[in-house]
C-alpha cells in the first residue's frame, strides 16, 4: 500500500492545478475584456527593461529597506522553487529527495543554500509584518487599505512564514534519521536537537507531516493567489515588458478624434455627407467602465501589489485630497472582478447598472490629479494609474460635458481666444512693447 500516498498526492496536485488554471484563466479573460493596444513593438528595449526593472529590481531599491527585504523574498521564492520541483517528483513517484541520488555533494550544498534563503525569507517576512503591524507606516494605513486589503497583505506573509518553517522543520527532523545521508544542514541542524530522543518511527511520521504541510501549503497558497494582490508574482514580469516606453509626458493620441478634427478642418469636406450606414456605432470617448480601458491598463490592475509607493508620492494625496493612485488600481481590479462574476453567471456581460466611474472612482478623485507622473515614476513594476485617470477625464469631458465649471471657462477661452485666459489673440505681442 506504499503507492496510496502517491496516488493521493497526484490527485491533490491535479485538482489544485486544475482549480488554479481555471481561476487564472478567468483573470486572463478579464484582462482581455480591455481594448486592443499594440505594446509588442520595440522588443529589444522591452526585454532590456524587463531585465533591469523586473529581474534586476532596479526600482525596488529606490527605497532601500523595503527593496532589500523584497529581494530576499523574491530570490528565495524563485530559487526555493527548484526544491519544490523535487518535492513534486518525490510526491508523484514515491521517491525521497530524488535529486540527491545524482547530485551527491552538490545536493547538500544546494539544500544548505536554500536553507539560508529560507532564513532570509523568514527574516524579510517578519520585517514586513513588523512594518505593517508595529511601525504603522503611513501608506499601509490609507483608507483604501482597510479590511480585505490589509488582511490579504498579512495573510501572504503568514503563509510564507509557515511554508518556510515547514521546510526547515522537515529538514531538522530528517537530521535525526539514522539513515540520514544528505546532510549536514546548516540551519535546520541548529533546530534538530528539538527532536532528539524521538523514536525513529515517530521521526519518520513527523518528517512526512512537515513534508505534507509544506506541499499542501504551497498548493493552497497557489489557489489563494487569484483572489489576492499576490497574483503580482505572475504578472509583474509581463507587466514591465508591456509598460509604456514613450516619454511620460506624451499622453495617448485619440485616433478617432483625429479623424473627426481633420474632417472639420477640411474645406473640401461635404457638410451634408451622411454617415456610412454600415459603419459600426462610434466608440465611447474615454473610459466610464473597465471595458473602455485597454488590456494593459487592466493587466496593471492585476499586477498591482498595493505597496502604495504611488500614493505616498502623489501631491494630491500628500495634501489630504481623496485621490490615491493605488486606489485607482484597486478599484479597477475590483470592478473588473465584479464584471467577471457577471460573465461567470450569465455567460456574457449584461449591464449590471454599475460602472468604474461613480460606483468605484469618484469625480472628485479624478479632478484632483495634477498629471505630474509621480505615481508612474514611483511604481516599481511600471503601472500607469495616470493613463486611467486621463481616460476617465476624457469620458467626463467629451461624453458628459461634466468638467468643473472653472475648467469649462478655461476651455471656452482656449476655443474663443486661443488662450486659457480671457485675453485677445491680437495682444499676444504686447510684452514686446512693454519692454
Amino acid at each position: 500500500m506504499e503507492w496510496i500516498d502517491n496516488v493521493i498526492f497526484t490527485v491533490i496536485l491535479a485538482l489544485a492545478s486544475f482549480l488554479f488554471a481555471k481561476n487564472a484563466n478567468k483573470i486572463r479573460r478579464n484582462i482581455f475584456l480591455g481594448k486592443e493596444i499594440n505594446r509588442s513593438d520595440r522588443k529589444g528595449e522591452r526585454w532590456a527593461l524587463m531585465a533591469k526593472v523586473a529581474l534586476g529590481q532596479s526600482k525596488m531599491v529606490v527605497r532601500p529597506v523595503a527593496g532589500f527585504f523584497h529581494i530576499l523574498i523574491y530570490v528565495g521564492f524563485v530559487l526555493i522553487n527548484i526544491e519544490v520541483l523535487e518535492i513534486l517528483i518525490d510526491g508523484i513517484f514515491g521517491t525521497h529527495r530524488v535529486f540527491s541520488s545524482f547530485l551527491g555533494g552538490i545536493y547538500t550544498l544546494a539544500i544548505n543554500f536554500f536553507e539560508i534563503l529560507a532564513v532570509g525569507v523568514i527574516l524579510a517576512c517578519l520585517v514586513f509584518l513588523a512594518r505593517r503591524v508595529l511601525v504603522k507606516i503611513k501608506r499601509f494605513h490609507s483608507p483604501e487599505m482597510k479590511g480585505w486589503a490589509s488582511s490579504d497583505a498579512k495573510n501572504i506573509l503568514y503563509i510564507e512564514l509557515a511554508l518556510m518553517y515547514a521546510l526547515l522543520l522537515m529538514n531538522a527532523v530528517e537530521s535525526n534519521f539514522d539513515s540520514e545521508t544528505v546532510g549536514p544542514f546548516l540551519i535546520s541542524g541548529l533546530i534538530a536537537p528539538l527532536f532528539n530522543g524521538l523514536e525513529q518511527s515517530s521521526l519518520h511520521i513527523l518528517e512526512r507531516t512537515f513534508w505534507w504541510l509544506h506541499i499542501l501549503g504551497i498548493l493552497a497558497f497557489l489557489n489563494y493567489l487569484p483572489f489576492s494582490k499576490h497574483f503580482h508574482i505572475f504578472l509583474s514580469f509581463p507587466n514591465v515588458w508591456y509598460a509604456n516606453l514613450d516619454q511620460k509626458g506624451r499622453f495617448s493620441n485619440m485616433e478617432s478624434v483625429t479623424e473627426e478634427v481633420k474632417k472639420m478642418m477640411d474645406p473640401n469636406a461635404d457638410p451634408y455627407a451622411a454617415p456610412d450606414p454600415n459603419a459600426p456605432p462610434p466608440e465611447r470617448f474615454g473610459a466610464k467602465d473597465v471595458m473602455d480601458l485597454n488590456w494593459v491598463q487592466l493587466m496593471n490592475a492585476y499586477s498591482c501589489t498595493e505597496c502604495g509607493r504611488c500614493t505616498s508620492e502623489c501631491p494630491a494625496n500628500q495634501t489630504g485630497k481623496k485621490l490615491s493612485p493605488r486606489k485607482i488600481m484597486m478599484d479597477t481590479r475590483d470592478r473588473l472582478d465584479e464584471v467577471g462574476k457577471v460573465i461567470d453567471k450569465k455567460g456574457s456581460f449584461i449591464d449590471d447598472g454599475r460602472s468604474l466611474l461613480d460606483d468605484f472612482i469618484s469625480r472628485e478623485e479624478l479632478w484632483a490629479c495634477t498629471t505630474c507622473n509621480a505615481c508612474v515614476q514611483a511604481c516599481p513594476i511600471g503601472i500607469d494609474p495616470l493613463s486611467i485617470i486621463i481616460e476617465m477625464r476624457r469620458y467626463l469631458v467629451m461624453e458628459e460635458s461634466a468638467a468643473p465649471q472653472e475648467l469649462n471657462l478655461m476651455m471656452a477661452n482656449v476655443e474663443n481666444n486661443a488662450a486659457p485666459w480671457q485675453f485677445a489673440q491680437a495682444d499676444r505681442l504686447n510684452w514686446l512693447e512693454e519692454a
Partner: protein, 262 residues
C-alpha cells in the same frame, strides 16, 4: 545692440529670410505679468548671444495642453492642428520655449498630428549657447548665494531633463542646495493637469504650500524655477509663508539675465 527686440515669423518670411529658431512664447509668457518678465529676460539673452530668432506674435495660440490634460481631446487636437498649419507653413524646424507644458506638448504630442520639430526647453537652449561660447555669464551677484531648484514635472519626469537648468545655475557660481524630494522625486507645484485654472479639491493643505515648505527647508535665498506656472504657485506659497522679504522666486533665465545688469 537692441536687446529687447524680437521679430515675428511673418517679418522674416516677408524679407525672404529664415530664423535659426522659433521662440514659442506661450500663453503665460504672453499674458501673465510675471511670466512676461521671463519672456523679456529670455529675449535679452537670445539677443546678447546673437541668435536669429523669431516669434509668432499674434499668429501664436494655445498649444492645447490644458485642454488635453483636462480630457478635452477635441479641443486639444483642434488647437494642435491649427498651430501645426502655421508652423509648417513657415517651415519651422526648431522651437524653443520657456514653458515646460508647451515644450512637452510640442515635442511629444504634435508629431502624431503632423508637427515634427526639434523642440527645446529654454534651459536646454541656453545651455547650448553657453557650451558653444555664444553666451558668457559670470556669477556676479549670485556668487555663493543659496539657490534651490524646483523641477517642473513636464521638464523632469515627463521628459527626463534634470541637468540643463542645474548646469545654468552652476554657471552662476551659486550654492545650489537640493530639496529632499528633487529630480525624479520632485514634488509637483500643484498647477499641472489643468489645476492652474481651477480651485483644488478639498484637502488639508494646498500643494504649492507643501512644496514651498520643502523648498524653505533648504534655507534658500532664491528658489529657481523653469516654468511660468511653478513660478506663480511657488510665489503664492512664499506669500502664504510670509517670506517675500527674504526669499525670491526667479526663473533660471532671469537669473542669467540679471548677471548682466550693472
Amino acid at each position: 545692440m537692441e536687446l529687447n527686440n524680437a521679430k515675428t515669423m511673418a517679418e522674416y518670411a516677408s524679407a525672404g529670410e529664415k530664423p535659426e529658431v522659433l521662440f514659442w512664447v506661450g500663453c503665460a509668457g504672453s499674458f501673465d505679468d510675471r511670466a512676461k518678465k521671463v519672456t523679456r529676460s529670455f529675449v535679452r539673452l537670445l539677443n546678447r548671444a546673437g541668435v536669429q530668432f523669431a516669434v509668432l506674435g499674434t499668429e501664436e495660440s494655445c498649444t492645447g495642453d490644458p485642454a488635453k490634460r483636462a480630457g478635452n481631446e477635441f479641443l486639444f487636437q483642434m488647437q494642435a492642428m491649427m498651430n501645426i498649419e502655421v508652423l509648417n507653413g513657415y517651415d519651422v524646424q526648431k522651437v524653443v520655449t520657456a514653458c515646460p507644458h508647451c515644450f512637452n506638448t510640442l515635442k511629444n504630442e504634435y508629431p502624431q498630428l503632423g508637427g515634427k520639430y526639434t523642440v527645446l526647453h529654454h534651459t536646454q537652449f541656453l545651455r547650448t549657447l553657453l557650451n558653444d561660447g555664444r553666451l558668457k555669464v559670470e556669477g556676479g551677484e549670485y556668487k555663493g548665494k543659496r539657490i534651490t531648484f524646483h523641477d517642473p514635472c513636464y521638464l523632469g519626469r515627463a521628459n527626463d531633463e534634470y541637468e540643463a537648468p542645474r548646469a545654468l545655475l552652476s554657471e552662476l557660481e551659486s550654492n545650489i542646495s537640493e530639496m529632499k524630494s528633487c529630480k525624479e522625486k520632485g514634488l509637483c507645484c500643484g498647477a499641472g493637469g489643468a489645476q492652474m485654472f481651477k480651485e483644488p479639491e478639498k484637502g488639508n493643505k494646498d500643494v504649492n504650500v507643501e512644496r514651498t515648505e520643502q523648498a524653505l527647508e533648504t534655507n534658500p535665498e532664491i528658489i529657481a524655477v523653469g516654468c511660468p506656472f511653478c513660478n506663480t504657485m511657488i510665489t503664492d506659497g512664499i506669500k502664504a509663508k510670509e517670506k517675500e522679504a527674504s526669499v525670491k522666486v526667479y526663473d533660471v533665465s532671469e537669473l542669467l539675465d540679471n548677471t548682466f545688469k550693472q
